[in-house]
Subunit: 342 residues, 2 copies
DNA sequence: TTGTAGGCGTTATCAA
DNA sequence: TTGATAACGCCTACAA
């Protein structure tokens, strides 16, 4: 293997100093045009590849953003990543992608590793199992810019980008109520995660606002995965017929898919026996055996805006910490029965 | 903002040399147990975060792998990435994810940037618009390990991980033939991309083997996106009725989805008017209005194995260059008519 | 416009 | 077991 070409080698080759070469390579100012061309030609001839590691060390800047997501299989996060990558690319940043797989320990480790790799900033959507946020606090206190998106952390002084989960959950629950359903259950996410708690709150709010009694048995602790929705729904189906809900508000689409599977599996019909709604408008939602009523989230935009905000924080330490809320839209399909005019 | 804690600061704090601290931090051998504990305690007290950038510079190793994919929205690549991330994580590597968006220029730039960031290796699935591979050759000749996956490059001396595209395309085409279709068209991918060329070859092979005439008009240049399939199918539908094919082999599932849309849009039925098959078993394939017959690819496994091979190359320069082929499976659904027993 | 000296934070090497 | 010194490749700051 040939020895790596460095600035010094180029300098020696043309009999000039390293600084001249460095300047020529970086298109700064103040350099003789001919010198510059000579340097560039020599660099090409020798097959020079600049070393960003060395550059990063000197400049204390890596042009790299760490991205930690809890999940990647479904359609939401890939869309978010596309948005992140696009904005990062435009600003000449790369992204290091880490997958927490909903696991707190992995998330913690990822944060530490990324901090050690000296990423310029961090974009995080919290794992399902996360119960405390010391590990966020730790890097933030070291001055590492962090933007929390989708599943956010509040009160630690970082910008957040999300939708209005509470309001959206309230809206979709109310949609069921307006159609005429009264006994409505919620397959809830973990309340330690922002979206779990906020969607539950929205669900409760809708009942209250419409003077429906909140039956605590109808709040089924669930999770964000299809299997969670499936298991929770199975539990509901074990209740005696008269004690069962008629409407189901799932914490997200994958959970709704699981619930749908459980319902159909036991020979019940949607929406005749159970009305079902999800949350996030997964790419599969409209394709399911019973197309799913859900909340559409602007995933791609969310990725873009979170990244823009993060880069703003990186490049300007005075950038204002904000809670950014993106609009959603209720998408009515057949899983909840006829369309309401409201 | 407080000043960053370094090895030197820890050393000063406890009155020892930097080397002792470094050794203690790295759990090497040869260090007094008490010294080690003292260092660790002090490091924690001061909030030390190791600087991998400096370490990388010294050790000429970043524990980072560059991953370049052409597309991220559909289900194939997210699954691959999950496999990549998992294996990388187990071996303590992180991944830098770059998105070429099917664009040759972006892919070139990504390769250069990743080489400059001194990733330890590169995992690439070629963009649709790529016509020449000098940019691969360039980094490979510099000794940067590269593994080409899914959409592979051959003959440049790198390991490849893919399925047997030619055989699989032959099989699924033959499946249509066995059912009884004789006039079969192919929505082809760009032949400059391995899978485009190989799937076309497989298609041709199946016709030949079964003594069907190859009608060049039935090979429609298409692309890997839904819109490409849609446009190509529209072209086919403009042919006079008697000159139209009865079976359609799409280069991949998204293209098949586009074709399906075009067919149904004009009031035709699948499979009654047109039998349709795809390739890759996208997550939506079984959920479509007409469930799609397709080839199942082991995406997650593909990501895992490509990464294992890459890390093997990284950690052992004598690792054998291989063409790894993963098995596929034909998944018969209703879009191709009744199930064949074969 | 070009060059010199020093340092970014860490580890390899050799010596004590 | 511990320490001093140089080196990784580049850039900042200052000088010529």
């Amino acid at each position: 293997m040939k020895k790596r070409v460095t600035v010094k080698q180029i300098a020696d080759e043309i009999g000039m100093s390293m600084m001249t070469v460095s300047r020529a390579l970086n298109e700064n100012g103040n350099i003789n045009k001919k010198t510059r061309e000579k340097v560039l030609k020599t660099a090409k001839k020798l097959g020079y590849i600049p070393n960003f590691v060395a550059k990063s060390l000197v400049q204390q800047k890596t042009f790299t953003i760490g991205v930690i997501i809890p999940e990647i299989t479904h359609s939401f996060f890939p869309e978010v990543i596309r948005g992140i990558e696009e904005v990062a690319y435009q600003s000449k940043y790369q992204i290091i992608l880490a997958h927490s797989a909903e696991d707190q320990q992995k998330e913690k480790l990822a944060i530490r590793t990324l901090a050690s790799k000296r990423v310029d900033g961090l974009l995080i959507s919290t794992a399902q199992s996360v119960t405390e946020f010391d590990h966020y606090q730790e890097v933030v206190s070291h001055g590492l810019p962090l933007v929390s998106f989708d599943r956010c952390v509040y009160d630690i002084g970082v910008s957040t980008v999300s939708i209005d989960d509470e309001l959206s959950a309230e809206q979709i629950t109310e949609h069921l109520i307006k159609i005429g359903y009264k006994k409505i259950a919620h397959l809830a996410g973990p309340v330690t995660v922002s979206i779990g708690k906020k969607r539950l709150n929205g669900f409760k709010k809708a009942l209250k606002k419409n003077k429906l009694v909140l039956n605590e048995d109808f709040i089924i602790p669930s999770g964000f995965q299809e299997a969670d929705g499936y298991n929770s729904m199975k539990k509901l189906l074990k209740l005696p017929k008269t004690k069962r809900p008629r409407g189901i508000v799932a914490v997200n689409d994958p959970a709704a898919f699981g619930a749908m599977k459980a319902i159909l599996e036991e020979g019940y019909k949607i929406p005749e026996d159970f009305a079902l709604v999800g949350f996030s408008d997964d790419i599969r939602a409209e394709l399911m055996e019973v197309p799913l009523t859900t909340i559409r989230q602007p995933a791609y935009e969310l990725g873009r805006i979170a990244t823009q905000k993060l880069i703003a924080h990186i490049e300007n330490s005075k950038e204002k910490v904000e809670e950014i809320i993106l609009p959603t839209e209720i998408v009515v399909r057949s899983s909840c029965g006829f369309k309401s005019s409201s």
